[in-house]
């Protein structure tokens, strides 16, 4: 499960900053809020944060400049950029500078919370050999899978498909992308074959509440795992 993480919010609008902070604290994270770019650059240098929520429109140096300085200094902290402009340029510019995700204001808090969880999970997945998704654990080194504590038998192809989906929880992964990630060199894999692997995965995972959605005509999406509430 996700451990308690430290999050830095850099946002000059006090109301929005406090709102985000309260939501993330409600999720069990430790949150710091800063209103200025320079402050954020210094803060990130002095302390380690698990991730950063960075507004583009800051007084003084803007969010892009903060991001540029962080990355130039070798800081790989995952960054979620918030912008009030929705121009595609902003998004591309942010991603080019090394942002990990992007949200346009205003946004729904549950969505922000989900993005934050995804970023934290991604950064933690990169640091360890174990991928954890609710009751599902994939040990990528030992190539052993567990579901609700019991060993889970996965064929090589099923494992590969699951790994692709796990890397992008709550994001649609197109069939083409899955084929590219799964097919061996020079091998032809049809979309139908992917459907077969996914349906086998579903049969194995759904009883434990791990859901793979079909997005008609596009691909699949591994849903975020939601623990059943107590009493249900």
């Amino acid at each position: 499960m996700i451990t308690r993480v430290r999050i830095l919010i850099v946002e000059d609008d006090a109301a929005l900053a406090s709102g985000i902070a309260r939501i993330l604290e409600g999720e069990g994270h430790a949150v710091d809020v800063m209103a200025k770019g320079e402050q954020a650059v210094l803060g990130a240098r002095q302390e380690r944060f698990d991730m950063m929520i960075l507004d583009v429109g800051l007084p003084g140096i803007d969010g892009f400049e903060v991001l540029r300085r962080l990355r130039a200094a070798g800081d790989r902290t995952p960054v979620l950029v918030l912008t009030a402009r929705d121009a595609l340029d902003d998004r591309i510019h942010g991603l080019d500078l090394g942002a990990d995700d992007y949200m346009a204001k205003p946004f729904a808090m549950p969505e922000l919370a989900a993005r934050v969880r995804a970023l934290v999970r991604r950064s933690q997945a990169q640091t360890g050999p174990k991928i954890v998704h609710g009751p599902l654990v994939l040990d990528t080194l030992a190539r052993r899978a567990q579901l609700v504590g019991a060993p889970l038998d996965l064929a090589a192809r099923e494992w590969a498909v699951l790994e692709v989906l796990l890397a992008r929880v709550e994001k649609i992964v197109s069939k083409e992308a899955i084929i590219q990630a799964v097919a061996n060199w020079g091998e032809e894999l049809t979309p139908n074959a992917i459907e077969v692997y996914v349906s086998r995965l579903r049969a194995k995972l759904e009883p434990a509440g791990v859901k793979i959605r079909t997005v008609r005509g596009f691909g699949y999406m591994l849903e975020e795992y939601r623990e059943k509430k107590a009493g249900q």
Partner: protein, 416 residues
């Protein structure tokens, strides 16, 4: 004339007696001509005939001799003739020598003269006309191209005209036009900056408001259990819905301003894959569809158009938003891109109540809402789509979905 002089020399006069003597052979020679017949007539001073063809028309009265010669036209034996009359002294008096010839040669000559001068002149004239026409056409062609280029522009296209394409004489005009284009473009980018700032100023506090209403709403669940009145919870929900609507309205007004002529620069148009535009926003919409248990599906073929990705995403967003808004739970919404009848298209189909045919024009108007619908729309969505379609010279069609149910809104773009 020569004939006349030769004849006059043959007139002998002795006292009152005037005689003419012309040998037959000589007369033959005199009268011989390839084309014309020659006539002559000699009159004595008293007017009586001396020799020749007495029927030749007499000298018209009133003509004055020039160097002793009178030239005149007449008709003899039904043919036009040219005649001269020489006044020759004979026996102390004046005899008249008339010589006439048919005008065949003259006419032929005249015709030859006319032909030989007219035809080249005509040719020269034609050649000159052709040259002038060609020259003017050629000279004006760059101007024509320039007019066509300007005419073909949309109101949004403010790129300067390439002065290399325009004729030298039009350079000042092109310069002035480019200056104007520059000023309009500058004004338009100022407006863009203003919009970007306005967006920031509006959206940030709205995001804050939305955050706090959502927190309050989440907390109210526990407060409710602790005895918070039910109507406070209801009011919080109202506030939350109003906030979402305000945020959406702010976004839409900005989108509308951006999609209008002058709201953006046509030179920002670039080759864009419609399929990629859809795929980029698919995540966001799939989540919203899932929340309503709507099956949002895609039938996407890659197709390239010239366009503005931000505007296209906005149009697509409005179409999908409407489809999700008006579909019943567990409904079905499909987004399609591809080529149809040689034209790139983008369409969104739902299986909701649809738009009655009578209202399909009106829904494109701003703030128009279909009668009896329960949605929370502002009535701006489709008018934004219409503006964006216009910006891309795309045709917008509203129809029914599969089996004459639901609604299908499509944009058909000009050739890719």
């Amino acid at each position: 004339m020569d004939v006349g002089i030769a004849l006059s020399e043959r007139i002998r006069s002795s006292g009152e007696e005037v005689a003419f003597d012309l040998p037959g052979a000589a007369e033959q020679v005199l009268r011989t001509d390839k084309y014309d017949t020659i006539y002559y007539h000699l009159r004595k001073p008293d007017g009586s005939a001396l020799a020749g063809d007495p029927g030749l028309p007499p000298v018209p009265k009133g003509l004055v001799p020039e160097d002793g010669v009178i030239a005149y036209d007449g008709v003899y034996r039904g043919q036009p003739i040219r005649a001269i009359a020489l006044l020759v002294p004979c026996g102390g008096q004046i005899c008249t020598v008339q010589v006439a010839e048919t005008t065949n040669k003259r006419r032929k000559l005249a015709r030859n003269i006319v032909l030989s001068s007219l035809v080249p002149e005509l040719l020269i004239t034609l050649a000159t006309l052709a040259l002038v026409w060609f020259g003017v056409k050629r000279g004006l062609a760059p101007l024509e191209d320039l007019s066509n280029e300007i005419r073909a522009r949309s109101a949004r296209d403010l790129r300067p005209i390439d002065p290399g394409h325009a004729p030298e004489e039009a350079a000042p005009l092109v310069g002035a036009l480019n200056q104007l284009f520059g000023q309009v473009a500058e004004a338009s980018s100022n407006q863009q900056r203003f919009l970007a700032n306005a967006a920031h100023q509006l959206r940030t506090p709205l995001a804050g408001l939305q955050a706090h209403t959502e927190i309050a709403l989440a907390q109210s669940e526990t407060s409710l259990a602790q005895g918070m009145p039910e109507d406070i919870r209801a009011q919080l929900e109202q506030m939350h819905r109003a906030t979402i609507r305000t945020a959406r309205l702010a976004n839409q007004l900005l989108a509308l301003a951006r999609s209008e002529p002058g709201g953006y620069r046509a030179d920002a148009f670039a080759p864009i894959n419609l399929r990629a535009v859809v795929e980029e926003v698919a995540d966001e919409w799939v989540h919203r569809a899932l929340a309503k248990e709507i099956d949002l599906g895609f039938e996407l073929a890659a197709v390239q158009i010239q366009g503005d990705a931000v505007l296209l995403r906005e149009a697509l967003g409005n179409l999908i938003h409407n489809a999700l808004e008006y579909s019943s739970p567990s409904g079905r919404v499909t987004v399609r891109t591809g080529m149809r009848n040689d034209h790139p298209f983008l369409e969104v189909e739902d299986d909701g109540p649809g738009i009655p045919p009578a209202e399909r024009e009106q829904v494109l108007e701003r703030f128009y809402r279909v009668n009896g619908t329960a949605g929370t729309g502002s009535g701006l969505g489709l008018s934004i789509v219409r503006e964006i379609a216009a910006a891309h010279r795309a045709q917008i069609d509203i129809g029914s979905g599969e089996g004459a149910r639901g609604c299908k809104v499509g944009l058909t773009f000009p050739h890719g």
